[in-house]
């Protein structure tokens, strides 16, 4: 599959996972991510893997827990309400320090919400979701090609840091078709899985997969050790893309598919002589704080955060800027997708008022 092919986001990420060595997929159908499971159901049996439609999302994430404990590359995918159901299992997997990949093709919420695209699961993905002191690495691709590349990398990052990694897309990215190629990714170096429960063969002490600690100080010690890993991740893994920022007086920031819309608006504004650029976070946790903290306050007058939510990432943008530059917000929610013209109107208003 070296030449370019046209794929739907959901299929492309499933193919990328298989190519990354994902051997087990456990899931439960939900719009708008069902094509992930459909593709896995067709392909896994032919490619030495397991596809299993669980009886519920809760069962699926616990199957992921089991397979991850045995050291297998494993993935589950769902959309917002299904991801809410998985939160208990995600917390257990984080608590047991196991690697896995979780895909959330976000739709409108809260509750059953709707089936149209949204980004209102940002808080859930980046600030916990489940209980306890833990994080997920959260990747936010903005094209089908980037979805492919980051899905492959997600398995490596999960293995390197022994933790769940989330791919956060949205219904638009999952459903749309774009040309992709699969050759581009160079695997990262993966440590040996000495912790996996693969059978001792009477040659070593048995491994234990567990998130229960009877003694408080033991649990604290583990959490502190885990926090050190999180610190390394914050230092090394934060990622963003800067677009036309050099001379920009206004910075638009957006992630995922909203960044594509915002970029169109930035280009239109540039045609009208407005000095505007864009910062696109690629990792939502760790959040690329430096990209904002290092903005030149003499030059940049406003930051505009655009999301398909009532304003969630905007909190991290404000924290990163520490009140040095005023931050405005524009969002549509409930499954309504903002248009480039709406974003352009907002940019123009800020530019005139600067």
């Amino acid at each position: 599959m070296s030449e370019k092919v046209l794929m739907k986001g959901n299929e492309a990420l499933a193919e990328a996972a298989i190519q990354a060595g994902c051997k087990h997929f456990f899931g439960y159908p939900i719009t708008p991510q069902t094509e992930v499971a459909a593709y896995m159901a067709k392909q896994m049996p032919k490619r030495d893997g397991t596809f299993l439609q669980a009886e519920s999302e809760v069962a699926a994430i616990n199957m992921v827990y089991g397979a991850a404990g045995a050291g297998a590359r494993v993935m589950t995918s769902s959309s917002s309400p299904g991801i809410s159901l998985k939160q208990e299992g995600i917390s257990y997997i984080a608590g047991a320090d196991l690697p896995c990949v979780i895909v959330n093709i976000v739709r409108g919420g809260p509750g059953l919400g709707g089936i149209q695209p949204a980004q209102s699961d940002y808080f859930q993905a980046t600030k916990g979701g489940g209980h306890g002191d833990y994080h997920l690495v959260v990747f936010a691709p903005s094209s089908v090609q980037e979805l492919v590349n980051l899905t492959k990398e997600a398995f490596d990052v999960a293995d390197i840091y022994r933790m769940p990694v989330m791919i956060m897309g949205d219904g638009m990215l999952g459903q749309m078709m774009e040309p992709v190629e699969f050759g581009a990714y160079t695997p990262r170096e993966i440590p040996e899985k000495t912790w996996a429960t693969t059978g001792t063969e009477m040659k070593r002490k048995h491994n234990v997969v567990n998130s229960l600690y009877i003694t408080a100080s033991d649990l604290e010690e583990l959490i502190l050790e885990r926090q050190k890993r999180y610190d390394v991740i914050e230092e090394k893994e934060a990622r963003f893309e800067a677009y036309k920022t050099e001379d920009a007086e206004i910075i638009v920031t957006a992630y995922g598919i909203t960044a594509r819309i915002a970029q169109t608006a930035v280009n239109k504004a540039r045609e009208q002589g407005i000095k505007v650029g864009m910062i696109r976070p690629i990792t939502l946790w760790p959040f690329p704080k430096k990209a904002f903290a290092e903005l030149d306050t003499n030059k940049v007058k406003n930051v505009l955060c655009v999301e398909m939510s009532m304003g969630q990432m905007v909190e991290d943008v404000r924290l990163s800027l520490d009140c040095k530059i005023p931050v405005d917000f524009f969002g549509r929610t409930g499954g309504v997708v903002p248009t480039p013209d709406e974003v352009l109107t907002k940019i123009k208003a800020l530019y005139e008022g600067r």
Partner: protein, 218 residues
């Protein structure tokens, strides 16, 4: 042209664009109706282009719940008017893959003796439908699910915005092989005007120029 035209294919083959453009072309000569029978795709479906189709005088049959947040595989309640009122050129835009084609089975008794063509829209740059054998396997799955026979082939090979005339021509070779192996004619080679203009005259298949309707918001 047959009165009833059923459009099937892999999801993402461009069925909906082909269906809409076929109805648009024919509506210049006779009244036409297009039915959104997609029970697979939540977004990017015929019903999304409803307004512009109705402005062109094309009747649109779609589920009341198409393009809404109600996530159930539903069909238009007035679908039987396709068969009972025979005054219009009818295009049936069916959902992708054999899953989408399953809905046709329900109309088997209405369709089997009707004056129909069933088109297989092929995009040879779609994963799992890149070789003649893969495509033929796919066609058989659709035929089993729908209990109907595919009668015509359409080459709609494309890479979305990255389509080149070469991409379409490479696809033509694959579709010609499918045609040779199945004995089915190639009804159309399709693409945007700027792509089709660069296809040499040696390619004999009729051309259908596509105006694109399923656009992304950026």
């Amino acid at each position: 042209m047959k009165r009833i035209n059923i459009i099937t294919g892999h999801f993402g083959s461009g069925k909906t664009e082909f269906a809409i453009n076929l109805a648009q072309k024919q509506t210049m000569y006779e009244k036409s109706v297009i039915a959104d029978m997609d029970t697979v795709n939540p977004y990017f479906r015929t019903n999304d282009a409803r307004k512009s189709l109705e402005e062109k005088g094309i009747k649109v049959l779609a589920s009341d719940y198409a393009s809404s947040n109600l996530d159930i595989p539903s069909l238009p309640s007035d679908l039987y008017s396709l068969f009972d009122v025979e005054d219009r050129f009818a295009v049936l835009d069916v959902g992708g893959d054999e899953d989408g084609a399953t809905v046709l089975g329900r109309f088997y008794n209405k369709l089997k003796d009707a004056d129909y063509d069933m088109y297989m829209v092929i995009n040879a740059r779609r994963v799992l439908s890149q070789t003649a054998d893969e495509i033929i396997t796919f066609m058989r799955e659709i035929e089993v699910a729908s209990r109907l026979k595919i009668t015509k082939l359409v080459n709609n090979t494309n890479l979305s915005v990255e389509t080149t005339p070469e991409v379409l021509l490479e696809g033509q070779k694959v579709v010609e092989e499918v045609s040779l192996k199945t004995g089915l004619p190639i009804a159309y080679i399709t693409g945007t005007k700027e792509i089709l203009d660069k296809i040499p005259d040696t390619v004999k298949a009729p051309r259908l120029c596509l105006d694109l309707n399923m656009n992304l918001p950026f």
